[in-house]
Symmetry: C2
Subunit: 200 residues, 2 copies
């Protein structure tokens, strides 16, 4: 069945299927969709891929994705340069910006430590973070990696590397999500919520 | 928030988000993934899109997708040319081929009638089917459009157009799926299964 579709179509299906979270059936549907679009839709899509690939690079300071020299956050004059929030992925910056609360800078690791997937410290932008801290001026590093095993391990690993520096290292607060229902909270979250309880 | 990511990255996210079944969050994940791949992965993907777009066209007989003059089924000498199975999408040909039972030819409509989505008879390859039948030699047309409202309507519409020709027009059998559990069969399917009951 592998050669049922024309070779170039199979190739496109393979391309889609290699993307995360897209199975063989979805890949077929996407490939058919792209080919069925009239008027240069496929060309525009291919161009978008190439252009993003050409133009987008990491911000030399925070490693977030940008087209310009510095990213918008690092280039802004209204941000608190004494605080750095460490996240795993560029999309996490967007999530934290959405809270409209955080005014400091970021550092994007581009991944989490994951021995299972052979992702070690050298595969993340940890060295760049240490260099930033070593330059001085940073007073607090907030570890905002994901609240899962890999995110926790990454936060723990980095916090140890930061111990020699005279700065505050904090971790995002864990607990029950706002607007959720205790009934559906899992045990680990409830445990963390109890540990993180505060005076009223 | 629209301009939070670099413009070319936003553009790529828009490109992914315009594909069927891909929401904004998934589109972000796919775009980040493509940009994070080392060694020309993005270029290969863009090339696959363009190449498929350039090479793949409809088979002049059955309208299925092909790179060559005729598609593999129409070009084969081992197929029964008196029977034509009418399906909505190229992927449906694959499904029916998988049964290893069908030995006739196909006709791909490239869609279903859908007044809600403004898809009328002229948007489907119905005229091409009528021309094939008018040429003679076809003895049976099997309507294998999807067993849903749009697929049923399309099958009904085409079967009326085929009435003037002296051929058999059949519809795929409906009923409970093999290996399934009656408990979970929906009412409409059970009704069709009862209507389609056979002597044992």
């Amino acid at each position: 069945m592998a050669s049922f579709f024309p070779a170039s179509l199979e190739n496109l299906i393979d391309g889609f299927a290699s993307l995360p979270g897209i199975g063989r059936k979805s890949a077929q549907r996407l490939a058919f969709h792209i080919l069925s679009q009239p008027g240069g839709e496929a060309e525009r899509f291919a161009k978008a891929v190439l252009e993003a690939r050409d133009k987008v690079h990491s911000c030399p300071v925070c490693q977030n994705l940008t087209e310009d020299g510095l990213c918008a956050v690092c280039a802004s004059e209204n941000r608190d340069r004494t605080t750095v929030c460490v996240v795993s992925e560029p999309r996490d910056v967007l999530s934290i910006e959405r809270s409209r609360e955080y005014k400091g800078l970021y550092h994007v690791l581009h991944g989490s430590l994951s021995p299972m997937n052979r992702i070690g410290p050298d595969d993340l932008r940890i060295r760049e973070l240490l260099e930033r801290v070593a330059e001085g001026g940073i007073q607090e590093v907030i570890m905002a990696t994901n609240p899962d095993t890999e995110g926790d391990a990454t936060a723990m690993y980095i916090s140890r590397l930061l111990r020699p520096f005279d700065i505050r290292v904090t971790r995002l607060g864990f607990g029950v999500p706002v607007g959720s229902n205790l009934e559906y909270a899992d045990d680990a979250t409830l445990l963390r919520a109890l540990e993180g309880r505060r005076e009223m």
